[in-house]
């Protein structure tokens, strides 16, 4: 079972990626920005909050 939350992420338009729902692993790859090493980068991660509905957590 994949526990990675779905998130959306803003990425530079020059990389052809718009905000979309993707998983965390894909987000990490998209944020590898070539030719910008040694500079501080900014990431904005957005997503939908989910309640834990596993049986052990229910009343």
């Amino acid at each position: 079972m994949n526990n990675s939350p779905s998130i959306s992420i803003d990425a530079p338009n020059s990389y052809g990626v718009n905000s979309q729902v993707i998983n965390r692993q894909e987000a990490a790859k998209i944020n590898e920005v070539p030719n910008s090493t040694n500079k501080v980068k900014k990431k904005v991660i957005r997503g939908v909050l989910k309640h834990d509905t596993s049986p052990s957590q229910q009343g």
């Binding site: 944020n31 920005v33 910008s36 090493t37 040694n38 500079k39 501080v40 980068k41 900014k42 990431k43 904005v44 991660i45 957005r46 997503g47 939908v48 909050l49």
Partner: protein, 196 residues
């Protein structure tokens, strides 16, 4: 003396002077209408400035806690570690080291670069590394210090590139504390102008 000898100690303990790569600073987190937004800055390199004895005592106290009951007397606990970013010196001198954040700085001309490279500007510490370290000539900006949780650094210990050797790291720590403890005096010229 800008060449800083380093070590590549593989111990699990975080040490003063350790340099980590790709360290996040969580600027903000908000929740609204069932959605969240997290803003993160990722710093290519940071140096640990927290006192080494504090880091050592914290590690030792937590090791004891793990061995015995979950409740233990521990007055050495650290939540976070003070770090400061290392900027590529050429980027900083050009004023473009924060360009990906939409921030530009005043370029440093040769008259301003000299004091930085000679570590005579209290805000900055200039570092050159030996051939065994793949980090460009860098400048620590003491004004940009922030903290990182101990647990994040320990979980990402493989991100430690190297550690600045003793004496050199203490020099950096001393210059950092001197910078933080500076006293800003009022500008008497401005006060007199306003009062006249």
């Amino acid at each position: 003396m800008t060449l800083h000898p380093v070590n590549k100690d593989n111990s699990e303990r975080i040490r003063q002077g350790d340099i980590f790569s790709n360290v996040p600073y969580y600027e903000s987190y908000t929740e609204k209408n069932g959605e969240f937004e997290l803003t993160v800055y990722e710093f290519p390199y940071v140096i640990v400035l927290t006192q080494d004895c504090d880091l050592e005592q914290n590690k030792a106290a937590r090791s004891k806690a793990a061995d015995t009951s979950p409740m233990i007397e521990n007055d050495k606990h650290l939540f976070s570690v003070i770090v400061a970013p290392l900027y590529n010196s050429e980027h900083l001198f050009s004023g473009q080291h924060l360009s990906l954040l939409g921030i530009s700085s005043q370029p440093q001309n040769s008259k301003l670069k000299g004091p930085i490279q000679n570590n005579q500007n209290p805000r900055y510490h200039y570092i050159e590394f030996g051939d065994d370290v793949f980090i460009p000539n860098s400048v620590i900006d003491f004004k940009h210090y922030f903290s990182v949780s101990v647990s994040w650094l320990e979980s990402n210990i493989e991100g430690r590139v190297c550690g600045i050797n003793p004496l050199y790291r203490e020099l950096i720590s001393q210059r950092f504390s001197n910078y933080l403890s500076r006293i800003g005096l009022p500008n008497l010229d401005e006060i007199q102008t306003e009062g006249s």
